[in-house]
Symmetry: C2
Subunit: 384 residues, 2 copies
């Protein structure tokens, strides 16, 4: 918290207010409804908006008070003119709440604390890495469920339901958190097959499936799996505050020669991207490595999408939210650092042939990548 | 959409921009990434930010264009000064995005369209009521799972996992949508038992459970169920764009005399609240009816919470979001109208005894309430 506050004062903020449950959990260990007030040269104060006893028991800091209103915070800030902006999470808190907060605390301006916080969050400590390891382990239950349950005639929804139970039993806490305001994901992730897996739909991911209705246009649909389908699961695994993000594709029966070429190209791209995950390498290197690999294989027009909708990334950080920093995109020169945890997810979406992804959650170790996913980085064949 | 636009112009807005996926789904039938521009005396224009073909296929309106940028929208609005504010969903879109949008479209001010839209959404049409009916039906699978699976020794998490699969198979689309920016709910809802059900924790609900970690402090924990527990499920059932919201409590074995008194008080409060659900009655009537009923039973200090944390509501609208209008609170004089769909949820949380809730999804019919929940409004005893 101290490092975060210092960075805010260096940026010129006169105070900070943290109210986003994910940010509170990261900074003070509670996700209860609360307001954390940060001031230069003062100890932080946490105001429980409800459930004072629980907030006090959970929070890492000493000064916990009780108020759902902002008046006591304004009083602490005093009557003097504010010498700079109030730092808020302008990327996540609603515009109306930001205005109301700014007025109640009497600031002339606000600034966004999220770039500072997200950069700090990108490098994980030992406890965080351990938590992500445990989240990644849950994928074994999803993989086993698919290998044992998936068969022609079963719908995507049915398979998703089985995965949902399996991952919940294996430790998934049942919700996935995005920082993006308009993104969400079912706890079983994206379960999609055949032509649905090459459709372009929904938010935030590339292989999204089409969902069961236009109201939720991603994830499992009511399509029945068919012999020779390619089937994909892409899942956010959330346990005890931390996410892993893993995806695999499966072939229902022996893949055709056309599918086998796509599979080989994704396996090569995945290996190439992984090899670029070393401390000090630019975040863009993994993207370029994968992109060059699929170009060599003749598939660049199907890399991370197709047509007008190709995504310009090959991965991203994971942690408190599924979409942590850094983004592994073509122009991100930011160096990778030891302790970052990344989802590396090259994929090809070839309409008429199928979609293939291999996504692993990967720790940037001192000398290179350590894959945290509990199952092999390959496309599996399900006999049927 | 026409009614919504007209109300915006009556409020003085010079234009409206809709970008929230739930609002887009309600107004134009698609939840894909898109921007809907509304102007007085002009046809609405929908800009697909991605996936143009799919947006065009799904949307109810004719003029669908392709742009992720806001420049073409600014061009449509022209160079003249704006004669009023830009209407945005200030309760849901992030502050940073609102500022960026305001600047790109060159408005001096913005206003919140959500009160207008939420009021309109409160009264459902026949297709919407039919959709909510189908969502409510899913609860039968949750109820059956609990009655057949719950037994001493099983953890809340295990039971939640079984419910999760059952409701997904029965048609739940796997995610629950809130309008509140900081609320979320697992697809199996809140599964909580014993002392966890009277704990005060988390966001947006009264009987919340404590969750499996401080990172997600509501929903199922790893506590094992015990003989004589009271067990509660409170679940948002989402299918094809519409929610129902239903809760039941169960007794593991014959309830004690103390528990039986709480159960009887909640059953009476539920009946009293339901009787107040008639067109033209103020939204507050159901609250007062339930409150007076529990007061007569001597339980008012445990109504909708306890101690410093009693909730001041006995229900709310359900629909596109789980927390639609109206709020059935003590001061809401707004009259109920035929076609509203309400979650009626009186509950008592008595520390040391247990928590009991009966929540039904209820249609305001021409002469009174029609309960849409597929199982009886009673607390069930699970023999064990």
């Amino acid at each position: 918290m101290l490092r975060f506050s210092r960075a805010l004062w260096e940026k010129g903020a006169a105070a900070g207010l943290v109210t986003h449950p994910r940010d509170l959990f990261y900074l003070v260990g509670t996700a209860q409804p609360a307001n954390l007030l940060l001031r230069p040269d003062r100890e932080p104060v946490l105001f429980a908006r409800r459930f004072f006893d629980r907030v006090r028991a959970e929070a890492f800091l000493d000064d916990v008070r009780r108020s759902s209103a902002l008046d006591p915070l304004a009083a602490l800030l005093g009557d003097e003119p504010r010498p700079g902006p109030l730092a808020l999470a302008l990327d996540v808190i609603p515009a109306g709440l930001a205005s109301k907060t700014q007025n109640a605390l009497r600031f002339d301006e606000v600034c966004d604390y999220s770039p500072v916080l997200m950069r700090q969050r990108a490098v994980k400590g030992p406890d965080e890495i351990s938590a992500i390891r445990q989240s990644a382990e849950i994928f074994a239950a999803a993989d086993e469920t698919i290998r044992h349950r998936a068969r022609p005639g079963m719908t995507e929804r049915e398979l998703a339901a089985h995965v949902s139970r399996a991952v919940r039993l294996a430790g998934h806490d049942g919700h996935v958190f995005y920082r993006r305001w308009d993104a969400c994901l079912q706890p079983e992730g994206i379960v999609t097959s055949g032509p649905n897996a090459t459709a372009l739909s929904g938010h935030a991911m590339t292989i999204t499936g089409i969902g069961a209705s236009p109201a939720l246009p991603f994830g499992a649909s009511d399509r029945a799996l068919a012999q020779h389908d390619l089937l994909t699961i892409d899942i956010g695994l959330f346990r005890a505050g931390y996410h892993a993000d893993i995806a695999r594709s499966y072939s229902l029966g022996t893949p055709s020669a056309a599918v086998a070429k796509v599979v080989a190209a994704v396996e090569a791209a995945h290996a190439a991207a992984l090899a670029a995950v070393v401390p000090g390498a630019p975040a863009s290197a993994a993207y370029h490595a994968a992109q060059e690999s699929v170009e060599d294989a003749g598939f660049s027009e199907f890399f991370q999408g197709h047509g007008d909708d190709q995504g310009h990334y090959v991965g991203h950080g994971v942690g408190i939210e599924l979409d942590d920093l850094p983004v592994l995109g073509p122009t991100n020169a930011e160096p990778l650092a030891e302790g970052m945890v990344l989802a590396i997810e090259p994929k090809l979406m070839v309409p008429g042939v199928g979609a293939v992804v291999i996504e692993d959650t990967v720790l940037v170790g001192p000398n290179g990548p350590e894959v945290l996913s509990p199952v092999a980085s390959e496309v599996r064949i399900i006999a049927c």
